[in-house]
Symmetry: C2
Subunit: 152 residues, 2 copies
């Protein structure tokens, strides 16, 4: 797979960040994600829905994956997420053979993305200051909710 | 945590197997799961819903986890599943600190349960012939659907 160009990575991250911000406005955990096909088609987008739906199974990545519906293959797809994927979401990426993960930031939470890289997933970490600021503010204001969301 | 006694493990597996069979009757992927609390309370049960809901994010374990609703902690809980958990479901168990996994069989599919054991999860593999027979028949009849469900 060709490396992703920085402009595309930033544009895709903007989709995920818009989801995260919508989640924040709803009182939810502000993590957003989007699944893109190799040709740039947006297959699905979503955000953490623990608070909104009372559903702990919908992290941002699983919400985006769900929104994309059934597919025969995920080869060539990219999961874009505002935050380093937790083990649950990293497991999703590995199991379904999603080829690439673009991550907004891993400063507030470091999930399983090193493990993914070891198993052949292309990992692009953007160190985006807006993603980091959004999470920092949220974690400081709602530490219990954040810990609940990551089983901590 | 005290080791689970075999009678309890079998009784809990029966709940998961009933879910798997209900899924088979619906034309779905016949994997079932249930989440139990340390005191034996059934917190949630579910089955793979790829076919029924067109939702690839609901494996049996994630369906049972979702049905249990929001919780502060999963310490002491047991995830019972008819089949070895894939990476996605193994990631769920690890991230949320589910203490034990009881597995019906790992002969038709070997997922991430060794990795879970390495990371402190108690793994109980029952080698249940009914679970194996159900999966064998399903995989033989619907190989494409099964491969889709595990991203193969």
């Amino acid at each position: 797979m060709e490396p992703i160009d920085p402009t595309t990575a930033r544009a895709w991250l903007a989709t995920a960040l818009a989801e995260a911000r919508a989640g924040l406005a709803e009182g939810g955990v502000p993590v957003g994600a989007a699944l893109y096909d190799a040709d740039g088609t947006l297959l699905g987008r979503g955000r953490n829905r623990r608070v909104q739906d009372g559903d702990p199974s919908l992290h941002a990545e699983t919400a985006a994956f769900r929104a994309a519906g059934r597919r025969r293959s995920y080869r060539g797809t990219t999961m874009v997420t505002t935050l380093s994927p937790c083990w649950y979401c990293s497991g999703l990426v590995r199991q379904f053979g999603i080829s690439r993960v673009v991550i907004g930031e891993a400063a507030t939470f470091h999930g399983g993305h090193d493990w993914l890289a070891e198993h052949g997933v292309e990992v692009v970490l953007l160190d985006d200051p807006e993603c980091t600021a959004t999470m920092r503010e949220f974690v400081a204001r709602h530490p219990r909710l954040w810990n609940e969301d990551i089983g901590d």
